[in-house]
């Protein structure tokens, strides 16, 4: 019997760079197949070849045992291949139903778009996936999880045989991940072949039956997941063993740096009070949408709040004024490095010095000469991999982009650094580098407020975990007591660990 999808010895070069140098992948119907590898290992290129975005230079590509050669993404879709991206690309101003049927709306016999039919079909699709999304609401403002579900619904309505999920869970909370995994299992049971790309091994082990590891554009190994362990996969991915993913060093805990009191913004968060001390790493944990980022953004002054106060070293931080917060020693590494952390089409140097543009000036004037020194120092300290300092940020890998954002904020010598999702979408090697850096920062007496959706990261890094549920602090768990269960319980129920102070 032939396999659903087979790729053998696929190569692809872009200019002088070999993105794929012999990639293999064999996907069976009714299987969930994990594709793992560090960033730059060639997973995305492989997916783009399967999805019809790129052609291959050489190698075999068989679908249902027959050689295929997609000319476009539409061609691939037509052959039953659907790709769900980490950040879905829905039209924000169209309704859910319109998004699912965009370009192929059903018509009435008078030639008008048949909205009733679209709505009915959409309800049927979402019901099949076990979720309730109003077909008539605009896509704007939908959670990323719901947007992905809409993409999946679209794939089902197109009779996709192969569903590729490219890091679908990176931006999802625990409950949403469970929901997505349920949907993936259902698709598997319906006989579809699923390729699941993720950096989170707990999900890979919970969901997949087979795993293919890639490194440097090449196929390394394919195994049944029952036969391998996380350590084995990581070793295959990095070509060396990573002993400790979360190296948290002991740090001297000093005086209170950040003090937040009764911070309230109606409908978003309420009566939030906490402190972060020098040398301490405090994690805000909770489900996506619980208000973690919103609290951090208000503390830094990007968002407004209605009442309460924020103090750094006893000095009140003015509301809604990031420049003032920066002046008092706050830094903020935001969640979305591409939109909020970096100017993507500006150079590494410009990005690193953006937050210290007032300090690199002489008599009020700055030039690229004055910026060069600090930019070079911080790029070097963070081991940013780039050929030149005027290389645009968009050219760097995700991990290196994140290092540039960190460099930008470390250059400000912050007393308090807020880091929202420090390792989202970056590879294992860089991840542990970032963790080591954050730990070093705390060791040097910086107060760190970290937000993370990855529980192992929270548990590994935090001196204290503050759990947020529906805008309120429902847990304050110290390092010695923290377990995944305790955090999840406070995040979903919030009764057991009421905040002491």
């Amino acid at each position: 019997m032939s396999h659903l999808l087979e790729l053998h010895g696929v190569t692809k070069t872009f200019g002088a760079v070999a993105a794929l140098a012999g990639a293999d992948m064999v996907l069976d119907a009714g299987s969930i197949h994990a594709l793992v590898g560090e960033n730059g290992a060639g997973k995305s290129t492989l997916v783009k070849i399967i999805g019809g975005l790129h052609g291959r230079d050489s190698g075999e590509f068989l679908l249902d045992g027959e050689s295929v050669d997609f000319r476009s993404t539409a061609d691939a879709k037509h052959h039953g291949i659907a790709v769900i991206y980490q950040e879905p690309t829905l039209f924000p101003d169209l309704t859910v139903a319109e998004n699912i049927f965009v370009g192929r709306q059903p018509y009435t016999r008078f030639g008008f778009v048949n909205r009733a039919e679209m709505r009915r079909a959409t309800r049927e699709l979402t019901a099949r996936l076990g979720v309730a999304i109003d077909p008539d609401r605009d896509a704007r403002g939908l959670s990323i999880a719901d947007q992905q579900i809409i993409e999946i619904a679209k794939a089902i309505s197109l009779n996709a045989k192969v569903v590729i999920m490219d890091e679908p869970t990176a931006a999802l909370s625990g409950v949403e991940v469970d929901q997505l995994m349920g949907i993936a299992r259902q698709l598997r049971d319906e006989g579809k072949g699923i390729i699941f790309i993720s950096h989170r091994f707990d999900e890979v082990f919970a969901l997949c039956d087979t795993v293919t590891v890639m490194r440097d554009g090449q196929h390394i190994e394919t195994n049944a997941l029952a036969d391998v362990t996380t350590d084995m996969i990581i070793r295959q991915m990095v070509g060396r063993s990573v002993d400790n993913l979360f190296p948290k060093q002991e740090a001297q805990i000093g005086n209170v740096v950040l003090s937040v009191e009764h911070l309230t913004r109606a409908g978003v968060f309420e009566d939030v009070s906490f402190q972060v001390r020098a040398g301490e790493i405090v994690c805000l944990a909770g489900l996506v949408g619980a208000g973690r980022s919103e609290i951090a953004r208000a503390v830094f002054g990007v968002d407004k709040y209605e009442s309460g106060s924020v103090m750094i070293d006893g000095a009140v931080v003015p509301r809604h004024k990031p420049s003032a917060a920066m002046g008092l020693g706050m830094g903020f590494v935001p969640e979305d490095r591409r939109k909020q952390g970096l100017a993507m089409t500006a150079g590494v140097q410009t990005n690193i010095t953006l937050a210290i543009r007032n300090q690199v000036a002489k008599l009020g004037f700055i030039s690229s000469k004055l910026e060069h020194g600090p930019a070079e120092i911080w790029a070097r300290r963070l081991q940013v991999k780039t050929r030149a300092l005027d290389t645009h940020a968009v050219m760097l890998s995700g991990g290196n982009q994140q290092k540039v954002v960190l460099a930008k904020w470390l250059a400000t010598s912050p007393k308090l650094l807020i880091i929202d999702e420090p390792t989202r979408g970056i590879d294992v090697g860089t991840k542990s580098e970032v963790h080591r850096l954050i730990s070093e920062l705390a060791g040097n007496g910086v107060a760190v407020l970290m937000i993370s959706s990855e529980l192992p990261e929270v548990i590994g890094m935090a001196d204290r975990v503050l759990v947020v549920r529906e805008g309120r602090l429902t847990g304050n768990i110290s390092r010695s007591d923290v377990t995944a269960e305790a955090v999840m319980y406070a995040a979903t129920h919030g009764a057991e660990h009421e905040v002491a102070k």
């Binding site: 993105a19 290129t45 500006a346 543009r357 000036a361």
Partner: protein
């Protein structure tokens, strides 16, 4: 035990960074047009008095000055198309005040301040109310022009002191450089330094590249844009006063269509209409390019209509070329970064 990493300062060699810039290409184009004109147009080097290098510069000066603050606004990703109307309002109020006996210097200062108020109004609607600048300044374009024309009706004020008006038209003694170009040069240095050599300018580009990143980096986005709109209004009104004296004619219709010429020059000069990239030098060279083309066409006796067609086409071509270039480079980036 960190490994000493070394970085190149620049990814590409100097000659490529210099020669492949829109500024360099435009300067080459200007030289080419001059050479072709010298070869192909009989009287190009010895034209009528109306077509000397001095008149070329004098005619170009108003647009060149107008485009200075406008370049900074475009670099933030916003736009101000009310500058021509603000010029007209300034001209009309200057004339009206002068005709009603207000001393000329005071009338000039008040007119410039009126322009600042128009800019502040634009800035308020864009930054505080949060409306798109294109819509806001289309509104003020019409509103302000209406007021300007309404002020003087069909009449115009022409009784300005002739020694002053001829001074405004004169050149620096011993050179073909008009005094207005000296004013332009001084302002160009101010705006150039502001954009390229201050923290404020870094903020301007950051806003154009990503408003959110700028906000997270402590750039006061609203204040920056507000200041730029006010500067744009003040500058347009200053040009209004000088333009009035230059032609000894205060009328509400002065400066009609100047906003389009200034925007054309800026975009031709390689400043992205989406914000974030470009140089003030590029915008200025863009202005000079249009002036050079116009001069050649005028000497050839080609009318204004054809000149509009040509500058309009030049604008579209430069936007298209710019978009294609950015699509190509993004593709190249996308393919190398997903490797």
């Amino acid at each position: 035990m960190t490994i000493e990493t070394t970085y190149l300062r620049h990814d590409r060699p100097l000659w490529r960074r210099l020669l492949l810039r829109p500024e360099a290409i435009l300067i080459a184009a200007i030289l080419l047009i001059v050479v072709l004109s010298i070869l192909g147009i009989p009287n190009y080097l010895r034209p009528n008095p109306g077509y000397t290098i001095s008149t070329l510069l004098l005619n170009a000066a108003p647009i060149l000055i107008l485009l200075l603050p406008l370049t900074l606004i475009i670099a933030t990703g916003e736009i101000d198309i009310s500058v021509g109307s603000t010029l007209g309002l300034s001209s009309a109020s200057f004339g009206l005040m002068f005709a009603s006996g207000i001393p000329l210097p005071l009338a000039a200062i008040l007119s410039v301040l009126i322009g600042g108020m128009v800019g502040a109004f634009n800035g308020f609607l864009v930054t505080v109310v949060g409306l798109p600048s294109l819509a806001v300044t289309i509104g003020t374009l019409a509103l302000v022009r209406g007021i300007a024309v309404g002020m003087l009706g069909t009449t115009s004020v022409t009784s300005f002191p002739s020694d002053l008006t001829s001074f405004v038209r004169s050149t620096v003694p011993g050179t073909p450089v008009p005094w207005l170009i000296v004013v332009f040069a001084a302002l160009a240095i101010v705006f150039g330094v502001l954009l390229h050599f201050t923290a404020f300018g870094r903020g301007v580009f950051a806003i154009g590249l990503s408003t959110e990143t700028a906000t997270f980096s402590g750039v006061n986005v609203g204040r920056t844009k507000f200041v730029l709109f006010v500067l744009s209004g003040l500058t347009a009104a200053l040009v209004g006063v000088m333009f009035t004296l230059q032609y000894s004619n205060a009328i509400g219709s002065n400066g009609s269509g100047f906003e389009l010429r200034a925007i054309t020059a800026i975009v031709l000069g390689g400043v992205s209409i989406w914000g974030g990239t470009g140089t003030l030098l590029g915008a200025v060279v863009g202005g000079l390019f249009i002036a050079t083309v116009n001069k050649s066409l005028q000497i050839l006796g080609i009318g204004d209509d054809a000149i509009y067609v040509i500058t309009g086409s030049a604008l579209i071509i430069s936007v298209v070329v710019g978009s294609i270039a950015s699509v190509i480079s993004t593709r190249r980036r996308a393919t190398t970064s997903t490797a």
